[in-house]
């Protein structure tokens, strides 16, 4: 009888032990489920934050670009204003009627006196010559082009068999040539002036002028193909 009771108590005790174990297991499972269901939320927040940071960077970059464009625009406007002012100043330089002319000059349509006009033209001519002479001075000869270009022009002039036309100087740099001619008389000079441009065997731009002291001495500046001749305003 005693043995039977002891056996029953052992069975009851083991059932209780199993029940406790089951309860503990369930609790631990539900705890782990809770923690996994909460995990995605912080991930999403982190992703949103990084996107926002990127957008912030983009906006700040664009703001900086706008600022730099505004600065560039201000510079351009400044240059434009300076050019405008210089143009007006040039028109009236050394003019006795400067005040009068300035007040009547509303849209640059100033009626200059003949001597003022002459002076302006002389200044423009000097500026043009200086610009091209400086360009020649600063440029180096191009070994692959300079000699060839000189020879081509000289040959074409020689083939024309002009009388009264002498080439007294010639040089070509990397983008510009300078030819100097001496003519026997003004008639030959005036005809040759229009012939010389078409004797250049490439597409070119040029400027020519006669020497003030010796009007029969003419200088031609000839640009290389693809190079634009510097023209003063």
């Amino acid at each position: 009888m005693k043995t039977k009771h002891a056996f029953s108590a052992a069975i009851i005790a083991s059932i209780c032990g199993l029940a406790i174990l089951w309860v503990v297991t369930i609790n631990s499972d539900s705890g782990s489920m809770k923690s996994t269901s909460l995990k995605p939320a912080p991930k999403e927040t982190r992703a949103n934050n990084s996107d926002l940071e990127l957008y912030r960077d983009e906006v700040s970059n664009l703001q900086q670009e706008i600022k730099s464009l505004q600065i560039q625009l201000n510079d351009l406007q400044q240059v434009s204003r300076i050019n405008q002012a210089e143009k007006i100043q040039l028109k009236h330089v050394n003019s006795e009627n400067y005040q009068e002319a300035t007040t009547s000059d509303t849209n640059q349509n100033v009626e200059l006196q003949p001597y003022q006009q002459k002076q302006l033209e002389q200044e423009r001519l000097t500026a043009q010559i200086n610009t091209l002479e400086q360009q020649l001075q600063y440029e180096d000869p191009d070994p692959g082009w300079s000699n060839w270009a000189q020879d081509q022009i000289l040959n074409n002039i020689s083939n024309k068999q002009y009388t009264g036309v002498n080439v007294v100087g010639n040089e070509c740099r990397s983008t510009l040539c300078r030819f100097q001619f001496q003519f026997d008389n003004a008639e030959i000079r005036d005809t040759a002036v229009e012939d010389i441009p078409i004797l250049v065997p490439w597409e070119s731009q040029g400027f020519f002028h006669a020497d003030e002291q010796d009007p029969l001495n003419l200088v031609f500046y000839i640009s290389r193909e693809g190079a634009q001749l510097a023209q003063v305003e």
Partner: protein, 167 residues
């Protein structure tokens, strides 16, 4: 994306501040028959259908084409172009736009343009803006027409079709 935003911003700003291209105020178009042969050429040009042609079989001719400058007091030409036909297999048609000062014709500027190979279709020679030192002067086109080496009258001759100058 960033680049396109920058480009469109620059273009927008330029247009907004009035940096738009200037349009010519005075344009004149001339027929090729306006051109005359220079006395140094020694051959006669042939004029047909508004064009000036070189029918000579062996010699190039030099043609001079007048330009009427109407706006006095301005020291530049805005632009110009010349239509030419080049039918020579090797030589080009070349035209120089020459601007000379009125008081001092030994001073001036020029731009030369050349045709690009043989073609029955007229070729357009384009000239950029050209300045003058003085505000009075004259402008002329001077062109060289290569010979008609086939000898077929008119059909194979290089010629000057028309030209236009914008002040």
């Amino acid at each position: 994306m960033k680049k396109s935003i920058t480009t469109s911003s620059v273009v927008g700003l330029l247009f907004a501040f009035g940096l738009t291209p200037a349009f010519a105020v005075d344009a004149k178009i001339y027929a090729g028959t306006e051109c005359v042969e220079t006395y140094t050429s020694g051959h006669e040009a042939w004029y047909v259908h508004g064009r000036a042609l070189n029918t000579n079989i062996s010699t190039s001719i030099t043609m001079e084409c007048p330009v009427v400058k109407e706006i006095v007091g301005d020291t530049s030409l805005a632009s110009a172009h010349f239509y030419v036909t080049d039918l020579h297999p090797r030589q080009d048609v070349s035209c120089s736009l020459i601007t000379r000062d009125g008081a001092n014709p030994s001073t001036g500027y020029y731009t030369t343009r050349r045709s690009a190979g043989r073609s029955f279709t007229p070729q357009k020679l384009t000239y950029p803006a050209q300045r003058m030192i003085a505000n009075t002067g004259y402008t002329v086109f001077r062109c060289i027409l290569p010979p008609n080496i086939t000898g077929q009258m008119g059909y194979e001759s290089s010629g000057l079709v028309s030209y236009r100058v914008d002040e």
